[in-house]
């Protein structure tokens, strides 16, 4: 499994810490923040591939955060985390470009799988863009 960076955004510290621990155990570089605002700050400064984003958080909600993230770094894939009562938010998120949503409580395995799939897609997208960039460069700066 290729290494990639995951940012866990959840206001519940225990959930965040445990998820990070378990991701690291699976060789994924994971870190966490507790709010949408902090997540946006973090993304601006660092190299994040996939964001695990809770829908229901104090302050900036998950959906609003998703919108900003997609504006700043469209390539970053986002997996939404919802409760049963906020399935609609997850669906809204997907319309805004989230990779998928997961309903709590879920098995860690499915979370892991979802994150990997998200990263795969990010890689594909990135490759496509790089190819396009190369073509573009060759056209404008040949030789």
């Amino acid at each position: 499994m290729a290494l990639f960076n995951v940012l866990v955004v959840d206001d519940e510290q225990e959930f965040r810490d445990m998820t990070i621990k378990r991701l690291i155990k699976r060789d994924i570089i994971a870190e966490g923040v507790e709010s949408g605002e902090l997540a946006i700050e973090r993304i601006k400064h660092g190299d994040i591939d996939v964001v695990l984003l809770d829908v229901k958080m104090p302050g900036m909600g998950g959906v609003a955060a998703l919108r900003e993230i997609k504006q700043i770094k469209p390539l970053i894939e986002v997996v939404m985390l919802t409760g049963h009562a906020s399935v609609e938010s997850g669906i809204d998120g997907m319309k805004l470009g989230a990779f998928d949503y997961l309903m709590k409580p879920m098995e860690f395995e499915s979370l892991h799988e979802k994150l990997c799939e998200a990263y795969e897609r990010k890689k594909i997208q990135q490759n496509k863009i790089e190819q396009a960039q190369i073509k573009h460069d060759m056209f404008f700066f040949p030789g």
Partner: protein, 567 residues
């Protein structure tokens, strides 16, 4: 039972009240007007009788006066024609008697000289008057002073009532007296037609009868004596249901009284009154009958609409209760989900870390691994429950969605399976694998399933079987729930979908379950049928219409549970 009694009483009161209102405001005025009209008719009829009476009294009094005048005239003629010598001659008087008495109404003739000595007599009582002196007799003196005399009816020497007419000759040398046959005189009076109970009599101012009563009475009643008051012309008045017409005759010496029984004389009026009464009675009966029908109809209608409203209220309460239970359940489920997530995570973490350990060094390595996997299993179970609770709360919003009936059944069975197992009831599934999906309201359909399953469990009680089968044709999906219970009695069958009908003990069932099911299915365009199987036990068949996405639903009109209620 209490409230039902009160309601019954209320509607009974209402019916009575309405009927009384009809009675008072329409019938009573009608009766009053009829009474007034009849009374007026009667009064005018009495007036006509009065006029008739007055005419008759005048006619009779004229006839009597004429008769008496005629008698006086005859005697005056005789006395004018013959001197006392001739009249005193017995033979001559005999001849005269025969001449004047052709009609036979003169009983006798008597001639008395101016000194009161009897000169001659013709009549049946010669012996009694022979040689008698009349000097002291009142009538004799009366004649000598006034020239003529008409007596009251008196018994005289012969002890039979008779009437005496006497005159004197122009020179007052003798007096001739005639006794007039009372019957001839009476006949004059009694010619008048006065009906069965009527009467015509002549009395003197003392009230003594001068003529016999047609009714055989001998004297006036005390009320009738009040009539003995002198008055001019003819009077009439009504006393004791008799009409009395009175007229003084013979210079105020006699009172002619003619009396009619008012009722007998009202012949044509009575006939008209009877006709009117019959029409009024017939109209009254018809009216009362229609009033009763109308009252019954109106109150019945009111009762039905009241009952329907009460049913609806009850159902709304039930729905609201379910909704609040649903909200509560959703809240709890949501709160529990987070800790459940933490438990899974922690257990998962342990599971992940375990392989790093050396099994040889950890004494209970396998036990730990088992425990962790059990924790995970039960968290999944708890998760299923919270999902179900959340699903239950979402049931309150009615939505059309694509439903898979078999899945709904599986889910519903899972709600009751534990209870079924504890009562040793097997729930068997005969589900059509290729059952099509349909557009309907999943949660509501599920509520119906749950209700029927619960009723089935109650019916079977223990050690039995409930079979759920599904099948479909081109138009509908059929879901059958058959049980091995005792079946449904005909009485229960009749009322099974009635609101508040329950076979359960008081306090155990609202009696709304089946009625709500009926409403739900009607609203969704389907239906519920109940039957008993020949082999025993009941069978409920739910028919759900088959609809593709986008197809307009044929929903029952109106609000929930109202139009659909069974009446």
């Amino acid at each position: 039972m209490g409230p039902t009694d009160t309601k019954e009483k209320y509607y009974r009161h209402l019916r009575k009240g309405l009927f009384s209102a009809f009675f008072i405001f329409i019938l009573v005025p009608t009766i009053f007007v009829s009474w007034v009209t009849l009374h007026n008719l009667r009064q005018s009829a009495i007036q006509r009788i009065e006029m008739f009476g007055v005419r008759m009294a005048e006619e009779r009094s004229d006839a009597i006066r004429q008769y008496l005048d005629q008698q006086i005239q005859i005697l005056s003629t005789l006395s004018g024609m013959y001197p006392v010598k001739v009249m005193g001659n017995q033979d001559h008087l005999d001849r005269l008697f025969r001449a004047v008495n052709e009609r036979g109404h003169v009983v006798d003739l008597l001639v008395v000289d101016a000194k009161g000595t009897q000169l001659s007599y013709v009549g049946p009582h010669r012996a009694a008057v022979e040689g008698k002196n009349y000097k002291e007799a009142e009538w004799f003196n009366d004649v000598l002073i006034g020239g003529k005399h008409v007596s009251d009816v008196f018994l005289g020497y012969r002890n039979i009532p008779h009437l005496v007419v006497a005159v004197t000759d122009p020179l007052k040398t003798y007096v001739i007296r005639a006794t007039i046959n009372s019957e001839t005189f009476n006949a004059l009076l009694h010619q008048a037609q006065m009906g069965y109970s009527g009467d015509a009599i002549i009395v003197n101012p003392e009230g003594n009868f001068q003529t016999p009563s047609l009714q055989g009475v001998k004297e006036l009643t005390s009320a009738e004596r009040e009539l003995l008051v002198h008055h001019e012309g003819t009077n009439s008045r009504v006393m004791d249901s008799f009409l009395y017409t009175t007229r003084w005759i013979k210079e105020g010496q006699w009172l002619l009284i003619i009396k009619f029984k008012v009722r007998e004389s009202l012949g044509s009026f009575n006939e008209r009154r009877d006709n009117s009464l019959m029409i009024i009675a017939a109209a009254t009966i018809i009216f009362m009958f229609s009033a009763v029908l109308l009252c019954r109809y109106m109150v019945g209608k009111l009762e039905r609409s009241d009952r329907r409203r009460a049913d609806m209220d009850q159902q709304m309460i039930q729905v609201e209760k379910m909704a609040s239970v649903g909200r509560l359940a959703a809240g709890i489920a949501h709160e529990i989900n987070n800790p459940l997530q933490m438990i899974t995570n922690q257990a998962g973490w342990i599971e992940e870390l375990l392989p790093d350990e050396d099994p040889a060094l950890v004494k209970n390595f396998d036990e730990y691994r088992d425990a962790v996997s059990k924790i995970k299993f039960h968290v999944i179970r708890a998760g299923t429950i919270t999902h179900r609770l959340l699903g239950f709360s979402r049931r309150m919003t009615t939505e059309k969605e694509c439903i898979r009936v078999n899945e709904l059944i599986e889910e519903t069975i899972s709600f009751v399976e534990n209870e079924a197992l504890s009562h040793k009831i097997i729930i068997e599934r005969e589900l059509d694998e290729n059952l099509p999906t349909t557009m309907s309201d999943g949660p509501q359909v599920q509520q119906v399933f749950l209700n029927i399953l619960n009723n089935g469990l109650d019916a079977v009680d223990h050690d039995g079987k409930i079979t759920v089968s599904t099948r479909a044709d081109d138009t509908s999906i059929y879901i059958e729930f058959s049980d091995t219970g005792p079946g449904i009695s005909p009485e229960v069958m009749k009322q099974i979908f009635d609101p508040f009908f329950t076979t359960k003990e008081p306090g155990k069932g609202t009696g709304l379950g089946m009625s709500i099911c009926y409403d739900i299915m009607k609203k969704l365009g389907g239906k519920i049928d109940v039957n008993n199987k020949k082999t025993g036990g009941a069978i409920f068949t739910i028919t759900l219409p088959l609809r593709k996405m986008g197809e307009p639903g044929h929903e029952g009109e109106g609000t929930f549970g109202y139009e659909g209620s069974i009446s």
